[in-house]
Amino acid sequence: MTDATIDKVLVSIIGRALKAITDEMSMSMEKTTRSPILCEARDFVTGLYDAQGRMLEQTENLPILSFSLSPVCAHIAERFAGDIHPGDVFFHNDVFTLGNQNNDVAAFKPIFAGDRLVAWAATKGHMADIGGAVRGGYNPNATEVWQEALRIPAVKVYDRGKLRKDVWDLIFSNIRLPIVQEDMRAEIGSCTVGERRLQSLIGKYGIERFEAHKEALFEATRTMMESEIRAIPDGVYHGESKVYYDGRTPGSVYTIRVKITVEDGHITFDYSDTDPQTDGFVNGTYTSSASATILTFLQMVDPNIPHNHGMVAPIDIVIPEGTLLNAAYPAATTFGNHLCPPNADAIIRALTPAVPERVTAGWNQLLCSLSTGQHPAKNDTYVDILFMGLKGGSGATSDCDGYDHIGMIDASGGVLDQDYEMFEQMTPHLLLEHEYLQDSAGPGRHRGGLGVRTRYRVGGEGTQMVTFGDGDVEPAFGLLGGGDGTLNRLELRYPDGEVHCLESKDLVTGVPAGTEYLQLAGGGGGYGPPGERPAEVVHREVMDGLVSVQAARERYGVVVDPETLELDEEATSRLRASSGSR
């Protein structure tokens, strides 16, 4: 195929059409699923891949799930080569064949033009349960995969359109909640939407033209990514970050080390010097760690870049097996997605000297709780991930404040809070508070995003809580003179007055009704010296209660009268002058 036969306009059209299809797949998933983790929080991703599994386009509501679909697709295409037919459906979650996390279960559907396999549709979401020792997953005591989850290596659940009932029953007999079955049906439905639409697109242009223009789309995107990478000075950059507490040994600390090499439009992330894997569940899988790398880097390039194979082609990621970010079989790894925040920190620290205007200060790291129990008034079992409570602030950039209450960098505002009133319908708890957390934002010329404070009164029976995450030891870091954000914190105040501070990887059973749950999600880091932030902006935030009078004075050098809340311009000038540029 020579360049002359490529119609550049058709390349644009095909690119646009692919995006429309993955968006439609996402809409179908959002409207039909049952677990609030999917239909309220949108913890899922939809995508299309070519016959070899190369990414055509994705809709990435939660990007940390996103960049394992292409490798798994290639794995299935190879493993089932010669036995892939129209109407087949495959399920997969296995982390030792390129899955990212046990709870993230994918459905794949091959797409045919005539009898030729031309593409795949895939949808993957976080299932409310996946078997294993702990309801809802996240077993902090796990030391091997079987204590965490049912492993689903690539299996065919539909063969030429016919349900393999025995296989289906085997899977769902090992999963606690019936809604998981319904949510996997929704995934298949979403793939069917993708299949139909792509077939009609290919039908319109013919398979040969489609193929040629697909390659041209990859090339155009690769060129764009290469030019973005060329904007970073060639060189070798080092960054590191800490991971605190492996869920087994109190006080344990691990280090992520990344070496980033930029050379001639190509970038390599090498994690070879990262610490070895833990013997608990705080371990990455190759694809969860690679997703973390890609999604962090995507925030440093033109956000309009299409998401296809060409985008990832100039990126190499080296993570030796046996390290914290790529644990060897049969390690427990459910925490792996949540190594994204420290991984992102290491990358940001490495690239700050090279491209200070492209990075953010540190983001608040995820610290999350999952509660399960009985809802007596509804005579039902519930599973709730408290998305509203876990979402802290993002780091500021050179010219913008961080985003308030956006949540962890792995979702970047793609997952949503439960609605408060739906929360009170679906769980037996009473929400007491969910508001911005005063003084949580790291100060700076541009401040970090605000964190939130969440409280609820536990109701119902048999309440058990699992926690997972970080950010309770080291706050989101400030950059180039900016200050740090605040720490995460989880507390239970039992009815008898006892206060129990939860660990970042914890399992608490028998939480009595009447216990008050408190969660602080911290703010993001600030960028640039706080003394350069305009006094009137600080003053407005004092009037809004986002910054205290004391913090305005101590962190920003802005003097506000505590009684009248009026700005004292003269005292502010004096204070700012005396403390230099701060």
Binding site: R34, Q299, H405, E421, L431, H434, V452
Partner: protein, 698 residues
């Protein structure tokens, strides 16, 4: 045309857009007229009066004499929309449950552009210092957990008074289940702040989902004083001119209501402008024997797609304005940044894109010669031969082909290494694909196949893209009505009075007595409103629908039900209707599994039917359109990928029954229709261009 007699009366539709105020007039003798004047954004009521003056001048009447003969004015307004978009609404305060005052600003923590760290949250309509917390709590069942703190309410009143607040929203947790706290707070506000505009969540939107309710209630408060001021100014001007007829305001749900009713629910007017379009569109499709159609409205900067299915305008139960949630039934509309002014550009990967940036009306496309240098869709259309330089907008704007060519050459052709005409053809194709995407969103989202709907085209720029969009979607029939460029104004005369009432009633659906009581309450409330609007009992209709889901699902399906099913306790009929609706939307249903159903909301749509004028007819011809042929012009034929000679016809000279085989260009003063070679066009009894695909779809 017959001359107006002394007894002639008029019905008028007025649609205020960003650039033009459109007026459509219908006389009691069945004559119609269309008028366009410039909009007057500082006080849009001036534009309304100017439009009426234009009519008077045309008819040779004094304004007072014309106004005296007007029976009804139906009015679509963008004042509330603009107040939100430009943040020029009222100084607004919010009273809300202690602990959740930031929900309004958080918007459930979404950042719509995930990878863009410079993308900012939207500014909330109420600043945090005016979002006042009040102690007191109702639980999920509607039971009081903690009494309302009147001290907190009093303190909030003090703060808001000293801040000069003009409008107050009240939204407490679980008020959909029990509104006593909200009512008590409202009482205090009424006595302490008698001049403030009040918006109470349990009155505005008594449904579950706190963020939806607080956002909608605040939007309602924020736009209340603005709409009230505007309507009072308009009514005063009309009164001064001696208007003795009825003024009706277009609502986002596609129905109309009296000014005093929308004053209490201004949030129902946030999509007032485009809401009448679908009703007009289906009126033009009805002669084909269908009550369903797609509407594509292409203006200067945006392309709006909407849908009518089986005579019902497609509504969404919630939408957004400027990223702020509004949970009220409103026209389901997909807006794409594609219009005549959309700019063509080359992205960082070297590929051609069209829009969403637009040159707007000022400076406008390069060919306007008003300083615009970027190549736009209109420039491409000119280069492709679709537009006649001296006949654009009825000759109001003289187009410069030279400037169009220059802009496309410099910004598209050169960077892509294409010749000029191929570059223009590429721009045309890309924007057609973008527009087709808007139509797909509106149909496929609901599980509908766009090929099954005739496509009605509105807006001045739509006619040139109609056939190519239809080809892209394999739609066999396209209609371009005579009033395409002012379709919304004409549609306003075809709308009924309509009020959507809703009440949450959450629980497993195992008996219908409670539901029946709710329905009776809502019907009584709807009847009362229609009675105020002068609708007699035999003209009112109440449609009942239930928002249902399978137990444990999260999203509901709104299922229309017969009132007698509810009165007779016919649970089976309701269940069957739900299973069928679920299957149609999502491809499966669970009747065999026996999954219980859960009710979330009860809905009543109260409709007051109004007498609707018949579409005017045009003279019949002999089927031969050659009398209207003005000559031939060189134009680009997309299917052939080459230029050819295309017949040009005077659209105003065409008679009913005239037929033209594509390719052809049909020119009217306000719009040009490009009939590609895949289509043939005939003119129906009402002057609509009916374009039909010559061979069946692939």
């Amino acid at each position: 045309m017959t001359e107006p007699s002394a007894n002639t009366t008029y019905t008028i539709g007025i649609d205020i857009g960003g650039t033009f105020t459109d007026l459509f007039l219908w006389s009691s003798e069945g004559q119609t007229g269309t008028y366009k004047v410039s909009s007057t954004p500082q006080d849009p009521s001036v534009g309304v009066m100017n439009a009426l003056s234009a009519v008077a001048e045309d008819k040779g009447l004094e304004l007072r004499d014309l106004v005296a003969t007007i029976r009804t004015i139906v009015h679509g307004t963008t004042v509330t929309t603009n107040a939100v978009l430009t943040r020029n609404g009222a100084a607004t305060g919010l009273l809300t449950t202690q602990g959740v005052r930031d929900a309004l600003e958080m918007r459930r923590g979404i950042r719509e552009r995930q990878y863009d760290n410079r993308y900012q949250n939207v500014e909330p309509l109420v600043p945090r210092r005016l979002r006042r917390p009040v102690k007191g709590r109702i639980d999920w069942r509607g039971e009081e957990v903690e009494p309302l703190s009147r001290d907190d309410v009093a303190e909030a009143v003090d703060v808001m008074k000293s801040a000069g607040v003009e409008a107050v929203a009240v939204c407490f947790m679980n008020a959909f289940a029990d509104s006593s706290h909200e009512r008590a707070a409202a009482e205090v506000l009424r006595s302490q702040m008698p001049d403030a505009y009040l918006s109470i969540s349990s009155e505005v939107l008594p449904t579950i989902r706190f963020y939806n309710r607080v956002s909608t209630t605040v939007l309602n408060a924020y736009t209340g004083p603005v709409l009230r001021r505007y309507l009072r100014s308009l009514i005063a001007r009309l009164d001064d001119a001696g208007f003795g007829g009825v003024l009706l305001i277009m609502q986002s749900n596609g129905g109309v209501a009296l000014p005093e009713i929308v004053e209490g629910l201004p949030a129902t007017t946030l999509l007032s402008g485009p809401a009448a379009g679908p009703r007009a569109a289906v009126a033009f499709a009805e002669p084909l024997g269908t009550r369903s159609c797609l509407l594509a409205d292409m203006g200067g900067t945006s392309f709006d797609a909407s849908l009518v299915a089986g005579g019902d305008v497609a509504l969404q139960s919630e939408g957004e304005i400027d990223r702020l949630r509004i949970a009220m039934p409103m026209l389901d509309i997909a807006t794409i940044g594609a219009g005549g002014g959309s700019i063509g550009w080359i992205d960082a990967s070297g590929l051609l894109r069209m829009g969403p940036q637009s040159a707007g009306a000022d400076p406008g496309p390069a060919c306007y010669g008003r300083g615009g240098e970027q190549p736009t869709c209109t420039d491409a259309n000119l280069v492709l031969g679709y537009l006649e330089p001296s006949f654009f907008a009825g000759g109001r704007v003289e187009l410069s082909p030279e400037r169009a060519r220059h802009a496309i050459e410099a910004h598209v052709a050169k960077p892509l290494g294409l010749d000029l005409e191929d570059a223009a053809a590429g721009m045309y194709r890309v924007i057609n694909v973008n527009m087709a995407h808007g139509l797909r969103q509106i149909t496929i989202k609901r599980g509908l196949d766009p090929r099954e709907f005739p496509l009605v085209i509105a807006g001045g720029a739509g006619g040139l893209h109609a056939c190519t969009i239809a080809s892209e979607l394999e739609i066999p029939t396209v209609l371009v009505p005579r009033t395409a460029s002012i379709l919304c104004a004409s549609g306003m005369l075809l709308t009924d009075l309509q009020h959507d009432l809703v009440r949450s009633s959450v629980g497993q659906l195992d008996e219908l007595q409670t539901v029946a009581v709710r329905v009776d309450e809502l019907v009584a409330a709807g009847s009362a409103q229609l009675r105020r609007e002068g609708v007699s009992e035999q003209d009112e209709e109440h449609r009942v629908a239930l928002d249902l889901r399978y137990l444990k699902q999260y999203h509901e399906v709104t299922v229309p039900v017969e009132r007698e099913w509810i009165d007779h306790g016919n649970l089976d009929a309701i269940a069957q209707a739900f299973h069928a609706a679920h299957d149609a939307l999502y491809g499966y249903e669970l009747s065999e599994e026996g999954t219980p159903l859960e009710l979330i909301n009860v809905r009543v749509r109260s409709i007051g039917h109004v007498e609707q004028p018949e579409l005017p007819r045009i003279e019949h011809g002999d089927g031969d359109a050659s009398h209207a042929c003005k000559g031939k012009r060189r134009a680009f034929l997309p299917h052939q990928g080459a230029f050819g000679q295309v017949g040009v016809y005077d659209g105003h000279a065409l008679r009913a029954g005239d037929r033209i085989d594509g390719p052809a260009l049909v020119e009217r003063t306000d719009t040009t229709v490009f009939v590609t070679s895949e289509f043939a066009v005939h003119v129906d009894d009402h002057g609509t261009c009916v374009l039909e695909r010559k061979e069946p779809s692939r």
